[in-house]
């Protein structure tokens, strides 16, 4: 069983008391416990099982405007004492930083409402095995599939965040994740693809057979790919790639990147950065949401934020430290976004596919080709050539490139938004990007 609030609270207050006793002017502590069990299958038989049980502690001590931190997995009182001593010694010789402080008291979360983030259901390993058997049975039903690997992970966590201003709260969360990777082969090629489902509640996990079938289908359709020529073209991003654009956008509007001046979106508040049909929202209070939270990693209350309204940048993601630097109040985004999404567009998936007589549909990108300082984007890609709304043939060993500043202004979104993950996007089209191939 995951440790209860009482245990975690007692450890947290032990740390705070000790830090205060040593002379710290302020302190903040997070104590967490997490239990996770994974079963792995390969080619329809058990390959591995893995159980992890881990405690984690992190403490920040302040001496006026001086601050330093420590973290440890060893919660023995004796070890905690040594670490806090070391932390406080370090704090004393760390230079002052005028922006260091605990969050403003009046911004701290006061009422914790249940977001239904914890499902106490125990899914025994035998049941995981049954699920994975069914999954791999359906994933390997086509004879082009030569290898299947799948896993089921059950995680239960609990944490307490406490600081010397009296904040002390936390809650349990759970997650269940099933995933499947399949390899298909024909005379010309070998290809890999995947599908997964991750939910707070066990009952919301996709059917094993659906997951297996989908992974297999997505893999087989990639066989015998061609390389295409270099050209400027319109690109359609599958949902699993388009949500990555949102993540890049979120990194570029973090208060830290803005305060340091290392973002291509610095000084763009109240300016047009996306096409004017685009709205981006970050909503922390979605029932059972994968990114839902009652407060951020500093204890600050987080409300729904409209980040982009009709294409205009309205908010940065602000934490206490960088907020003070920018003269902005924290909006409860220390630790980043919560449930981030594009509002759905008004064209159907089918019409988006047909919008141009020829386009490229991207299902996977590889490489770390996003430069958030300049906005330059260049990644390796895999996908399909689309003609008259239909997949013609698979394409690989190409790159796609552009600059976010132009790409964001050319986004067209389909109306197929679903809330599956913590970042969600409809299918997306961007016209005028460069493809490099033959």
């Amino acid at each position: 069983m995951v440790k209860d609030q009482e245990f975690l609270k007692s450890k947290a207050s032990y740390c705070l008391d000790l830090a205060k006793k040593m002379g710290a002017t302020d302190a903040s502590v997070t104590v967490g416990h997490s239990i996770s069990e994974t079963v792995n299958f390969r080619n329809k038989s058990l390959e591995a099982s893995d159980r992890s049980d881990g405690l984690a502690l992190s403490i920040e001590t302040y001496l006026g405007k001086r601050r330093s931190s420590i973290s440890s997995s060893n919660l023995l009182d004796e070890n905690i004492k040594t670490l806090i001593e070391k932390c406080f010694e370090t704090t004393k010789i760390t230079p002052e930083d005028e922006f260091n402080s605990l969050p403003d008291k009046n911004l701290l979360a006061k009422q914790i409402s249940s977001l239904n983030l914890y499902d106490e259901t125990r899914f025994e390993n035998d049941k995981k095995i049954k699920y994975l058997k069914d999954l791999e049975e359906s994933a390997s039903s086509e004879n082009q599939i030569i290898n299947t690997e799948s896993s089921f992970t059950e995680n239960k966590s609990n944490f307490i965040l406490a600081n010397s201003d009296g904040f002390c709260d936390g809650y349990k969360t759970s997650s269940f994740t099933a995933s499947c990777v399949t390899v298909a082969k024909d005379e010309n090629s070998m290809e890999r693809d995947y599908e997964f489902s991750s939910k707070r509640h066990l009952s919301d996990i996709k059917q094993a057979t659906d997951l297996g079938n989908k992974a297999a289908k997505q893999t087989i359709r990639k066989l015998s790919p061609k390389k295409i020529g270099s050209e400027k073209t319109s690109i359609i991003f599958d949902k699993r790639i388009s949500k990555g654009m949102l993540s890049a956008f979120a990194s570029a509007i973090s208060a830290s990147a803005i305060a340091r001046g290392t973002s291509f979106l610095k000084d763009k508040i109240d300016q047009q950065v996306f096409a004017n049909s685009i709205n981006v929202i970050d909503k922390p209070d979605i029932n059972k949401g994968m990114g839902s939270q009652n407060f951020d990693s500093e204890g600050v209350n987080s409300n729904t934020l409209q980040l982009i309204e009709n294409g205009i940048l309205k908010n940065y993601l602000v934490d206490t430290y960088n907020g003070k630097k920018l003269n902005l109040k924290s909006n409860g985004r220390s630790g980043g976004t919560t449930n981030l999404y594009f509002e759905k567009g008004n064209i159907s998936y089918k019409d988006l596919m047909k919008k141009n007589s020829r386009s490229l549909y991207i299902t996977e990108t590889i490489g770390h080709g996003s430069n958030l300082v300049t906005g330059d984007y260049s990644v390796g890609a895999t996908g399909f050539l689309v003609e008259d709304g239909e997949f013609k043939y698979p394409v690989n060993e190409i790159t796609i490139a552009g600059n976010f500043k132009d790409m964001f202004k050319n986004i067209i979104l389909a109306n197929d938004l679903e809330f599956e993950y913590s970042v969600n996007s409809p299918t997306m089209m961007i016209e005028g990007m460069t493809v490099a191939g033959k």
Binding site: R42, E47, A48, S49, D50, R51, S52, D53, G54, L55, R67, S68, S69, I70, S71, S72, S73, N74, L83, T90, I93, T94, P95, D97, N125, N147, V183, M190, E191, R192, P225, S230, E231, K232, A259, R260, G261, T262, E364, I366, G367, H368, G369, N371, V373, S378, V379, G380, T382, N396, E397, I398, T399, A401, G402, T434, V435, A436, G437, K438
Partner: protein, 470 residues
Amino acid sequence: MSNFFNKSDLTRQDADKLVSETLNSCDDGELYLEESKSESILLDDNKIKSSNYSSDLGFGFRAISNEVVAYSYSNEISKDSLKNSSENLKSTLKSIKGTYNHEIPKSNKKFYKDINPIEQKTLDSKLEVLNKVNEFLRKKDGSVKQVTASFAGEQKSIEIIRSGGESLTDVRPLIRFNVSVMLEKNGRKETGVYGIGGRQSYDDYLKNDNWKNVCEEAFRIASVNLESKPAPAGEMKVVLGPGWPAILIHEAIGHGLEGDFNRKKTSAFHNLMGEKVASDGVTIVDDGTIDNRRGSLTIDDEGTPTERTVLIENGILKNFMQDRHNARLMNTRSTGSGRRENYRHIVLPRMRNTMMLSGNQTQDEMIKSVDKGIFAVSFGGGQVDITSGKFVFNCTEAYEINNGKIGSPIKGATLIGDGPSILKEVSMVGNDMMLDPGIGTCGKAGQGVPVGVAQPSILIDKMTVGGTKL
């Protein structure tokens, strides 16, 4: 060396007994104990932004029968905790039995010293270096708008206990020093990053004011990029500089030669053993035995001494990299390549220092032979799809080549190629092999481990450059 038993109700005898009992009827397995101490100190935006110290202690208990691996870890080293893990392993493997394999090769060679780099330099003197870096760069040029500098240091002590009470230990120091600078000129912003590191003390790397050279290099890269033009798009010749660009070898070839993917036949290389996979003159080794290198290990995380494994010899595929589990199932021996990020993770076959050895041509000859292409000097990171064999890496410093001459710098672009065929496109191998500066971290299955790379300059006849200019 850590004593894992002096602060616990668990004695070494208890542990030996429980390990032997649990693994008795298995094919392999071990108890892995680990204690790590690490620090990171960061200067950013003119201030010491953070100073963090972290300590971690725990064990991972593994039992293997046939193809099934059962693993359980905890950060509580106690009698109860180890018993729970043992029960957990037994329940997974209840219907599967094997014969325990005891054999471990021995070696007395050590490739680094038992030091704790964190304690070998005072916090004050670390802060002083970071402040000097900031001052030096900001004074150097008015275009410097942001400076980030950091120290990261670690000491990891491990002990491996096998059935029968055999114990193997290692103490691994590791440090890294990094500088990143952002310049702004005529409305354009560009960054340059450079770092150094390895398994010695901070001062071994920073003597003779070497921090200045790190600053100069980061500044130089950023300055070059301020003048960069859009990169070309399409297939062309590519000259790679020596050293760090060898992450091409790591991504294109290295991952595909790891034992697990080949046992499972999901690597594009699985049926190419003994075949010609590279041009004549191309020899690639994976070496864990170079003194003090970031990717070096005295023993791997299963206790096997590391070695210099020849992967490709004069164009022919010779060996895969193996841990004990995959080696046993493929009927071969471990190459000392079994690694894990820490006790929370299972062992996988991984790279150490992956190197292409020198040939006898010069970089000048390569550049002169190219009518139209690019010269790539430095890279960010890379990634590979080991099944299709397609790999990418991102240039952070590159130039056009026109008519045998180096031209303007070009913007960062992704290069993409096909792992099994790329080395056949290598038409010249330079005489200037260089090791990387000691900054690489390789990711696989969610686990990061420190690695090194090395190569001479090479000419690749055909690769796709992912720029925007058609």
